[in-house]
Subunit: 443 residues, 2 copies
Amino acid sequence: MSSKEEIRPEDVEIDGLTAAELEAQHPADAAEAIEGLDLTDQIKFIKQLPVKDAALSLAEMETHDQKEIIQNLNRGLAGRIVAHMSPDDATDLLDELDYELQQALLRRVPAEERAELKTLLTFDPDTAGGVMNTEVVILDQDLNVDLAITKIREEVEDKEIPYYAYLTDEKDRLVGVVSLRDILLARRGAMLKDLVKTQSLVTVGYNIDKEEVAHLIAHYNLLALPVVDFGNRLLGVVTVDDVIDIIHEEASEDMQAMVGAGADETTDSPWLYSVRMRLPWLIINVLFSAISAWVVHLFEGNIAEMAVLAVLMPIVANQAGNTGQQALAVMIRQLAMERFDRKRAWLAVVRELRIGLLNGAIISSLVFGVAFGLTGKLSLSLVMGLALGVDMVLGAVAGASIPLLLKEVGRDPAQASSIFLTTITDSMGFFFLLGLAGLVLLT
Amino acid sequence: MSSKEEIRPEDVEIDGLTAAELEAQHPADAAEAIEGLDLTDQIKFIKQLPVKDAALSLAEMETHDQKEIIQNLNRGLAGRIVAHMSPDDATDLLDELDYELQQALLRRVPAEERAELKTLLTFDPDTAGGVMNTEVVILDQDLNVDLAITKIREEVEDKEIPYYAYLTDEKDRLVGVVSLRDILLARRGAMLKDLVKTQSLVTVGYNIDKEEVAHLIAHYNLLALPVVDFGNRLLGVVTVDDVIDIIHEEASEDMQAMVGAGADETTDSPWLYSVRMRLPWLIINVLFSAISAWVVHLFEGNIAEMAVLAVLMPIVANQAGNTGQQALAVMIRQLAMERFDRKRAWLAVVRELRIGLLNGAIISSLVFGVAFGLTGKLSLSLVMGLALGVDMVLGAVAGASIPLLLKEVGRDPAQASSIFLTTITDSMGFFFLLGLAGLVLLT
């Protein structure tokens, strides 16, 4: 069928779905249904939906799908869809496109919205300015409640954030926030500025990292957090539903970056994208493994004399690695959830040292006991127990310290931390085991 | 000082903080400040604060601190604090206490609230009923907007959730939800039931898992989700700020459970608690490592003949482990963020197989090349490259499958998954490497 014909949506059916059915769904559900299709069908559906519905659904899709669909639509329709998206969603999408397409679409957006999108595009996407919504209700603080209600009625209809209105002074500076609840509860004729007199307003600068913004909203249980410039003028708000996305993203980033997978990979990413994201870290990992292998190589003579050492190697390495990963996981989550406090963070390393010492002592005694019971070889069992215990303690301290060291040098605390950790626990574990064996058993 | 004396808060100073200063802070900040103190000082502060502020601050603290403070207060004060907490926060706390103390505190709560808390305590804390808030504004659907505003004004003052009001029919069944925004926008005299006529209401049963609740709220960008019983009667609502906590908790649980740390551990947990949580998994890990060691033991003769095999072992094990952890991380995050869809989930395993095949082929060719370049030994380099590549593919498939298999048998998909994974990649890696070496190099 040609896309130029006039087609009624109810005529089109793809994969058992009709556009009319999609239209009746919540945009988030329509988005999920469309994401399940292949690109050709996705395009067909988007073309059949009313522009407004297409914009709403597209906003709910994952970045990768959004981008592919927009790149494959004709520019007229793509531009109209972008113009119908809320400014923050449109900016997120435009940010992902190459410059030429971005500009081409911007030219198709009406002048007023274009100016706003251009401003939004200047903010770093990982900051408050990059995630904020600019559709806010702004009221003059010198209005009374009744006038405010009239004003809100006029404005609120097409705004996404209908729960707060922001009060400004004559120089457009933010002076307070009132909720619709405050306005409903206020006595008739009360002045807006009197409602916010004793308010301690939480705001955030536009250049603050979005994780910090998420932290503030979660900490204070806010529904929206106003974003201001250096002159305390209101630029927009970050809403709680954006925060949920940020928290999900950060959790995925941490977990995936830790082991060298792409921070934004999902099971829907193209598989070659995942290959490209993971391969560099796998190469780094194999180079780091070479360090551990080199340590073993130093003691090759010992192993040739006593092959049983090679039997024990995986136990030491694996066990210390696991101990370290437990510390690593707790530490990375802590850094994700709480504001960074250097003193408390390093105290947490001491805490992990204690845990490592006790768990190390228990496990290595156990292993010593079992090894001695099975083999009757006291020295070998002692060497094994000792190397294991020391490496576990080292693993605990390394697991807790690596994210902090990464943070101190200005890197993502999670990035490749598991790779660094196992390099340390593997190489030092082999060094302790094979070195001790050389000293005690083979002299 | 005796706690029976009349003490003015401004007289007491602990760690440079006065109770008067704490009182002036947002409860979330006061909670953070109090959490930083040791128990004796925590108790002193809580005693100095007005009961209402103490209740608000306590609600913002971590479970562990809450519990310790309540256990160490006299029961009269503890009971009054619990009575001042919002019912959902009070229930969370009571759920953590031993039965005797729980009942003692309940007896000190006024009868009406006691009945409510007792009902809430019957819900599983991990379900919608366990996290819902019961302070909701309920309106008869036959009211008009103006009467509704009067009713809301009367009720909303002491309720935590002021953005929605819920409409019920004559049999208390939920028929719709109106936001304060809807009410402000509606024309005077409009009937409430006419506002919700075309509404497609999202509700959730009280026994639905809280993760699913969080998923629904995030998916539909809701501020609150009504919880109903089997007769569709409204029991309460889950609000978006609870969802943020749930998402944070789940992310910590996944990351920490994956490596066998306690799901609810933080850097503030008592260190002995962490020891107790991690030790069982460390013991399981050491037992599993013994499997890998046993595989090596089977080939001890080969190693005695060719100690260089022990040098290569850590590279194979570590590299396949890392490959598997990349797949594991992406899969666990997927299960955390999206509704489980068996078909899509197993397709994701196929995707990981592809990624593993390509990454495995690239890395093993690289390692083969370097090994051959360095040693000039063709057969050894081939054995190494082949064992590495095969184990990486196995790691990718195992990493992707383990969470799904755990899910299929009704377990937490993350629990100890990393331990299971490395057992497979270690033992099979050694089997491939040492076995192939035995076949190719030593015959």
